[in-house]
Each structure stands twice: as structure tokens, then as C-alpha cells.
Symmetry: C2
Subunit: 84 residues, 2 copies
């Protein structure tokens, strides 16, 4: 799934407007495929930072990692509870 | 600038393919405008985390913050030096 498709599909509609969402997208365009990827580790640290701001359980967070050639993308989708 | 425009304009071309880039996009869809925004603080913490992985100077990082109704977006663009 391309970044463009991602944002097209996540466009808010009337049913979703009342909910609070946080989406984080990391795109890493690497100069070479031979370097190790640091996105999985970065993901853990990003989640730790986000948890300082929003009180969410692990199952409210959807993570998607994608690799296509030298381009890596990491998507974090967080839906916050409405009754906070 | 919408999220879509952002990714359209940042589509890699032949001249940019050799460079290493890291792009981070945070979209916060808020349930209410009355809450304080935590994105500016979150931005500082995200940059601190990223600096653990990539050795970049402050001027290699472009930050763009946008607010449109209940939707806030934060873009971090990092171009890494080629001669690392």
C-alpha cells in the first residue's frame, strides 16, 4: 500500500469525526539496502513517547511495516477511547 | 498543504534517489478543539528519539505544523548527508 493510498483510505468521514485518532507515519528512503533497518527499534521508542501523552492500551494501536525496495514505511494508528 | 499534496510533492525522482531521507508525519484528529495540543511537545521528543538513530544537525531538519479545524498535522523532514 502506498503512502497516498493510506491517506486516501484514512480520510475522515462523518462517522469517524467524533473519535480521536493519532496517526504516525515514518517513511525512510535509504541510500542503500545494505544498511540494517532501525525502524523496528524506532517504533518501540515512538510508542513509548506517545504513551506519555495518550493513555492507550496496546490493542488500540495498529502497527504496519512495509518495505518496497529502498523505501521503508512504518504506520502507527491509534484510536483513542471516546469516554476518557 | 494537505497530507496528499505533501506526499505527491515528495515523490522521489531520479535526482533524489541516492539521498537518504527520513520523513515523519503525525496526524492528530481531535474529538474537540478545546483540548490543548500536545503536538509541539511531542515533536521535541520525536526529534530526540530520531537523533539517537541518525546523526543530523538541526538545519537538516524541516518541521511543518498545520492546523485545520480539528485536524492537526506535524511533518518532520530529515535529509541525511551523503558523505556519512
Amino acid at each position: 500500500m502506498s503512502l497516498l493510498d493510506y491517506f486516501r483510505s484514512s480520510k475522515p468521514n462523518s462517522a469517524s469525526l467524533a473519535k480521536e485518532r493519532l496517526q504516525i507515519l515514518v517513511a525512510h528512503e535509504r541510500a542503500s539496502r545494505n544498511q540494517p533497518s532501525y525502524l523496528p527499534e524506532l517504533q518501540q521508542e515512538l510508542l513509548a513517547v506517545i504513551r506519555k501523552y495518550v493513555n492507550v492500551s496496546q490493542d488500540a494501536i495498529t502497527v504496519h511495516f512495509d518495505q518496497d525496495g529502498n523505501q521503508e514505511t512504518l504506520e502507527l494508528n491509534i484510536v483513542l477511547p471516546e469516554d476518557r
